[in-house]
Subunit: 224 residues, 8 copies
C-alpha cells in the first residue's frame, strides 16, 4: 500500500499530491472531530497545508488552536490552513442565481482559491431579472472557467452556457421547496439543459466544482 498511511481508522492518501497535484482534501461530513483533527494534523505534517470541507464549529474548535493561521469560514464551512505554493493562471468566475446559493458558491470559491486559483464572485444574477446577468456579460467572458451555482430550475447555467467560449460547471443547490425535491429537480434540469459545454456536479457540491475548475487551470499551467 505504498502511498497510503494507515492511521488505524483510515488509510491516508499521502501520495495524492504526487498523483493529482493536490493533497487529499478532508470531507468533514460524517466524520468525528477526533478523526478530522488526526487527519488534519498528519496532512499538515506531510504537505504543510490542509483543507476540510463541510466542517462543523466543533471541528474548528479542535483544529484552530493547534494550527495558528488556520481559518474557519462559517459561510462556506471550510477549515483551511496554508495555501498552494503555485498560483494557477486565469480566473474562475463563480456565479449564483440568488443570495441563498452563496454558501455553496463560497465552498466552490474557497476550494479553488486554496488550490491556487483567482476567483471572481458574481452573485445574485438569476435569470428572472435577466439584465442583472447580461450587465456582467463581459466580466463573465473574461473568466477561464465559469461555475454556475443555482437552485430552483437552474436556468442560470443554460443562459451562461450560451454566452461563453469556456467550460461551464453547474452546481445545483437544494434551495427551494415542494417540486424542487431538495435539489433533485435542479440537478436533473441542469443535466437536461439546452446549453452545450455544461457539466454538472452533485447537489450543493461546491467543492467538486471548485476542484474541477482548479484541475482545468492546472492543465493550463502545466501544459498538455
Amino acid at each position: 500500500m505504498s502511498g497510503f498511511e494507515d492511521l488505524g481508522f483510515c488509510k491516508l492518501d499521502v501520495d495524492r499530491y504526487e498523483r493529482t497535484g493536490h493533497p487529499e482534501i478532508v470531507f468533514g461530513l460524517g466524520k468525528t472531530a477526533d478523526h478530522v483533527e488526526a487527519i488534519f494534523s498528519r496532512l499538515v505534517e506531510v504537505h504543510g497545508r490542509a483543507l476540510v470541507t463541510r466542517a462543523t464549529a466543533e471541528m474548528a474548535e479542535r483544529v484552530l488552536p493547534k494550527f495558528p493561521g488556520a481559518k474557519f469560514d462559517e459561510v462556506s464551512r471550510l477549515i483551511s490552513f496554508g495555501e498552494s505554493a503555485r498560483r494557477l493562471p486565469g480566473k474562475v468566475a463563480v456565479l449564483t442565481g440568488g443570495t441563498s446559493d452563496i454558501p455553496v458558491a463560497e465552498e466552490a470559491a474557497g476550494t479553488a482559491e486554496w488550490m491556487g486559483c483567482e476567483v471572481d464572485r458574481i452573485y445574485d444574477v438569476g435569470v428572472a431579472g435577466i439584465d442583472r446577468l447580461l450587465s456582467h456579460k463581459d466580466r463573465i467572458r473574461e473568466a477561464s472557467v465559469v461555475i454556475g451555482v443555482a437552485g430552483m430550475e437552474g436556468a442560470l447555467v443554460s443562459v451562461v452556457g450560451g454566452l461563453v467560449r469556456r467550460p461551464v460547471i453547474a452546481v445545483p443547490t437544494s434551495i427551494g421547496y415542494g417540486a424542487n425535491l431538495q435539489g433533485l429537480t435542479t440537478l436533473l434540469a441542469m443535466m437536461t439543459s439546452c446549453a452545450s459545454g455544461v457539466t454538472v456536479v452533485n447537489i450543493d457540491n461546491g467543492f467538486g466544482a471548485g476542484f474541477q475548475a482548479a484541475m482545468i487551470l492546472q492543465l493550463v499551467a502545466e501544459g498538455v
Copy 2:
C-alpha cells in the same frame, strides 16, 4: 342530469357552453373513431362548431368527409370545425424554446384561435442563445397573455416571467432524453421556477394552456 345528454357510451355536456362560455372540447386520446364521430356530430348539431384534440388520422378520415369545412392539422393534431362567433380582445403570444416544441405550441395556438383569440407565434427562442429571445422582448410585452412552451430545463419561462407584466402559462414538453424523464423534469423545474406569475399545465398539454389563455381574455371581454 339537466344539461347532459346520454349518448350511451358517454354523457355529453351540452350545457357547458352556458356554464363556461365554450362548447365541450373532445379529448381524442383513448377514444375510438366511432365515439369521436358521434360526439363531434352531436356537438356540431348543438353548437354549430366542434374541436377535437389529440386526433388521429383515422378520426379525421371519419369526420372530415361528413363536415365540409372541417380541418385536420397534422402538426397540432386538432380537428376543428366552425369558429367562435365572438373575437376575444388582446393577443396571446405563444413561444417555444426549440423547433421540437412546435407541435405542442400549435395545439395551444389552435385551441386559443378556435376559441376566438388572436395568436402571435414566436418560435425557437430558447435561452441558450438569449439574444433570440431578447430581440423579441417588445413583441412579447405587447401580448395580453404569454404561453411558454419548452422542454429540457424549461428555462424559457423563467426568463420570460421576469420580462412581462402579464400572466405567463408554462407548458412543459416531453422533448429531451435521459435525465429529462419524459418531461417530468421540465414540469418540476417550471414549478420551482424563480419567476413569479408563472403557472403550469401538464406535460405536452398545449390545449390546457390555450384554453386558460382564452378564459383570461374572455374575462377581459366580459368584464369583471
Copy 3:
C-alpha cells in the same frame, strides 16, 4: 445593470415596478433577518411599500419596530407594509379543501390584497361533502379568478374547474401523509386533472397563485 441596485449581498430589482407593475416581493425562506431588513428598508424607500413572504418571527421583530404600520400575519407568514395605490377590478375567490390548507390560502389572499385585489375567502369546502361546495356555487361564479387550495388528491379544483367560466389557479398543499408524498401527489394529480382551464403552481405556493391572479386583474384594469 440599469434597474438593479447592488446591496452587496444581492442585486435589488428596483426596476421591477416599471416592468411588471409591482415592486419586487421578498421571498424570506433561506434569507437571514439582516438581509430581509436591508432589502425591506430599501424597497420602502424606493416604492413606499414592501411585502415579505415566508417570513419568520425573527424577521418581523427586526422589521416591525422600524416601520410603524408594518404588519406580520402569523398564519400567512406575510410581513406587509403599505398597499397598492391602485385597486384592481373584480374579485378573487380563494377556496380551500380543508382547514389545514388555510395558511397557504392566506398567503395567496394576502398577496393578492397587497397587490390591490379584493378577495373572497371560501374555506373548508372539500369534495368529501360536496354540498358544502355546491352551496357556494353562485358566489364562486361571481369571482373573476378562482384560486383552489387543496391537499390530498386535490379533487376540489377538478370540480370547480367544471363549474366556472373564469381562470382557475390550483395550489397543491403538503397536507396529508403517506402516499401524499409531501404534496407531490397532490401536485401531479392537479396537473392531470380532468378539468380544463386549470393551471397549477408549486406546492404550498400561495404567493404564486395570488400573484398570478393579480396579474390577470391588472390586465383587466389596464386593458389589452
Copy 4:
C-alpha cells in the same frame, strides 16, 4: 399439497372453492395460450365453470371452440364459462369517470357478475361536470357496494365516498399522460383521498375490485 393439483407447469388450486367460495380465476397476462387452455379445461372439469382475465384473442381462439357457451368479451378481455349457482344479494354499482375507463370497469363488472353479483353500470360521470354524478345520487346510494373506476386525479371516488353509507372500492386507471405517470399518480391520489371508507386496488385492476365486491356480498349472503 392436499388441495393442489400438479399440472407440471403449475400447481392448480382446486381447493380454492372450498376455502374462499369461488374457483381459482386465471390471470392471463404472461401465460401462454397452451397454459391457459390446460388450466381452463381442468377448472371446468372440477368446478363446471372458469374465468380468465386479461385474455388475448389467441387464448379465446383456443378455448372457445372446445367449450360451447364460453364467451370472450373484447372490451373487458374476459373469457368466461358457466356461472355461479348462487346469486348474491344486493347490487354492485360500477362507476367510471370517463369513457376511456370503460374496459377496466367492464373487467370489474364481468368478474362480479360471474361470481353471482347483480351489477349496475353508471359510466362517464366524472366530476368535471358534477351534475352528471349528482343526478345519479339515488341510484348510487341504492347499491350495496360501489366501485369507482377513474383515471387522472381520481376525484370521482372522493366525491362518491362522501355520498354513500356503503363500502367504496377505487380502481385507478392508467388513462392520462404526462404527470399521470401511467396511473401511479391516480393510485397515490386515491390513497390520499379526503373521503373515508374508500379502499384501493392496483392500477387497472378491475378484477380485484369486482372480486372484493363479491366477497362483501358473499358475507351478506352467508351471514357473519
Copy 5:
C-alpha cells in the same frame, strides 16, 4: 348548505350521520387544539359522541376535562367519547406482522369498536415465522372482515388473502428503513400482491381500514 354548520374556521358536516350512518370523525393531524376542542364539543352536542384520530396529548388535555368519560389512548392516539348505540354483527380480525405495527392496528381496532364492531386482535404473526400465522388460521377464518397491518414487504396480507373467504383490507405501515421508503414500498407491494380480494388504504391509515370494515358490517346489519 343544508347539513353543514359553519364554525367559522370550518364547515361541520352535521348531516353525515344521516348520509353515512356515522358522525363525522375528526382528523387531528394539522389541526390546532382550539379547533379540535370546538369541533369535538359541537359533535358531542349534535350526536352525543365523537372521535378524534391522530390526537396529541395537548388535544387530550383540552378535551378530556370537559367531557367526563372521554378517553385518550396513547398507543392508537384516539380521543373517543360515547359509543355507537348499535352493535354491528360479526367480528373484525385485526392482524399485525410485528409488534411495531401495533399503534396503527390499534387505530384500526379503536375506530371499528367506536363504530360498533367487535374486534379480535391477533398481533405479531408475520410470515417469517409462518407457523405463528397458520396456528391462528381458524380464528382468522371466523372473522367477517380481516384487517392486515404490516410494514416491510407486507407479505402478511398476501398469505391471509389466500386463506379466507372474507374481504381483506391491507394497511401498509411506515415501519422499516432504507428500501422501505417510509412505507411507500409496502404500499406498492400490497397493491401488487398476488392474492385476490385484498384492497389497500394509505400508509399508517388504521382509521381508514377500521372505517371500511365498519361500513361492510353496517351493510350486513342493514341488509342490502
Copy 6:
C-alpha cells in the same frame, strides 16, 4: 494487461477462470451477433466451454452450427457449450412464485447447472396458496442454497427465509403491472423483507443468483 486478450472491440478476461474458478460468461444483451460469435469462439478455444446469457435467436443461429453440441434454450435464453469438469456438492433449490417467473428461474437453474451444480426446480409455489409451499418444506430444507424467484410483492422469499437454515438468494422479476413498476416494487420489497438471511440480485437477474449459488457451493467444494 496480463490475463486479458484484446479482441479489438473488447478485452477478453481469459484469466477469469484462474481468479474465480469459472470462465468469463457472456452477457448477450446489447451485443451484436458478430461480437457474441467471436467471444464465444475464443472462450471455447481457451476453456473448452462457454455460456451466453440473454441470447437471441440470431446469436444462436450464428453459434450453434459452428459448435456441435452447443444448445440454445428459448425459455432461459441461454446458449451453452460444454460443462464444468467438476460437479459441485449439494443441491440448489430454485423456487418460483408463479408460472410467469419460470424464464428467470430457468436462467438461474441453467447457469448453476453449467457451473456444476445439481438443481431442484420447485415452481409455482407462491404464498397466495401457502399449502403449495409448505407441502414442499422438507424438499426445500434439503437444499444447500435456495433461490427464490418471484414477482409482485415477492412474499415467497420472506416465508422461505424463515423456514430454512441455508442462504436464500432472492430474484425479483418484472412480472406484474401498475404499482409493480416493472419489478422495482418487488426489488425494494424483497430488500425490506422481514426475513433474515436473504440477499437480493437485480430484477430478472437469474444469472446472478445462479452464479452466487455456485460460488457458495464452490466454497463448500474447495473448503475454507
Copy 7:
C-alpha cells in the same frame, strides 16, 4: 403455534434455533426498552445467549445490569450476550469504502462474530485510491465470504467482485448527500453492478450481511 411463545405483545420464535441454527435475533428499532428487556430475558433463559441490533443506550441501561457479561457496543449499536458454542470454519472479510461506513460494517462484523464466525476487518479501502484496495488483494482472497460496505456509488463491490472466487455480499450505506438519496442510489447501483457473484442487502443492513455470511459458513460446517 408450536415453537412460538406468546409474551403478550409478541410471539417469540423459540423454535428458530431448531429451524435455522441460530436463536431469534432482536431488531431493536421501533421497539420499547420494556419489550426489548422482556424478549432478551426470555431468549437468554431459552438459549443462553441473545443479540439485539439497532439498540439504544436506553435499552442497554435496562439489559446490561441484569446480565453481567452482556455488552453494548456504541458503534455497531449491538447488545450481545453469550456466544455461539460452535466456531464456524473460514473467515469473513468485512471491507468498507470509507471511515463513515464503519458503524454499518461493525454491525455486520459483530453479528457474524456472535454467530461464530472469525472476521477480518479491512476498512477505508474505497476505489478513489485503488492501491489501498489492491494492496490487500491477497488478504481479501483468503476470506471465505466477503462483505463490502460502501456508500456513494458503491464501486467497491464491483471491483472486489471481479477479484475473488468467493461470494460477495454488498451493503449499501446511507452515507452521502444530494444525488445519493439516503442510500437508494447506492443500493440501485450495487444491484446493477457489472460484477457477477454479488448479492445485496438493504441500506445500512449490516446485520443482514453478517447473518447471510454466517449461514454460508454454517453450510460449510454442516456439509451439504
Copy 8:
C-alpha cells in the same frame, strides 16, 4: 436579433462561432429530415463545415448526396462535414466500461475530433476486471482530459478520478436493466461518486462530454 438568422421554422445561431469558437451543432433528435437538411446547408454556407448528432439514416440520405465529403457514421450517429481549421493541443482519452458503451463513446470522440481534438480510444476497461484498466494507467495519465463512458453503477469514473491529475468528464449510459432505471441509477451514482474532480453530463450524452473536452483544450490553446 443580430447574430441569428430566421429560417422560418428556426432561428439559426450563425453568430455562435464568434461567441464560442465553434459553429452551432445540430441536435438531430426530434427534427425532420427537411429541417436538418436546411440547417445543414446554411451552416456549410456560413462556416464551411457542419455536424449533426443523433442523426438518422434518412437524414444522411438527404444530406450526403448534396455534400460530397460529408460522412455518416452509423455507430456514433454523427453526420459530419469539414473540420476545424485549428488543431487543439493535447489529447482526449475516451474510456468505456464495456463494449455496449461504444456508440456513446464514439459520439464523444467524433464530436471532439470534429472540433479539432486528438482522441485516444481505450474501450472495454470496466472495473470488474480491474487489471484491464490499470494496465492502461500511463496512457490515461498522458491525456489532457479524460472522458469516462459507463453504464450500470458507473464505477469506472470513480477509479479513474483517483488516478489522474486532469479533469474527468463522466457520461452515464443507459446500458443495463432493472435497477438501472434506463441510466438514471448510473447518472446518480456518478454524481455521488467518491472521486473528486469528476463532472457529469446527461445519460448517453457523448456529444456534451466531447464538447466540454474541446472547450477545455480551446482554453489551453487560446491561453487564459
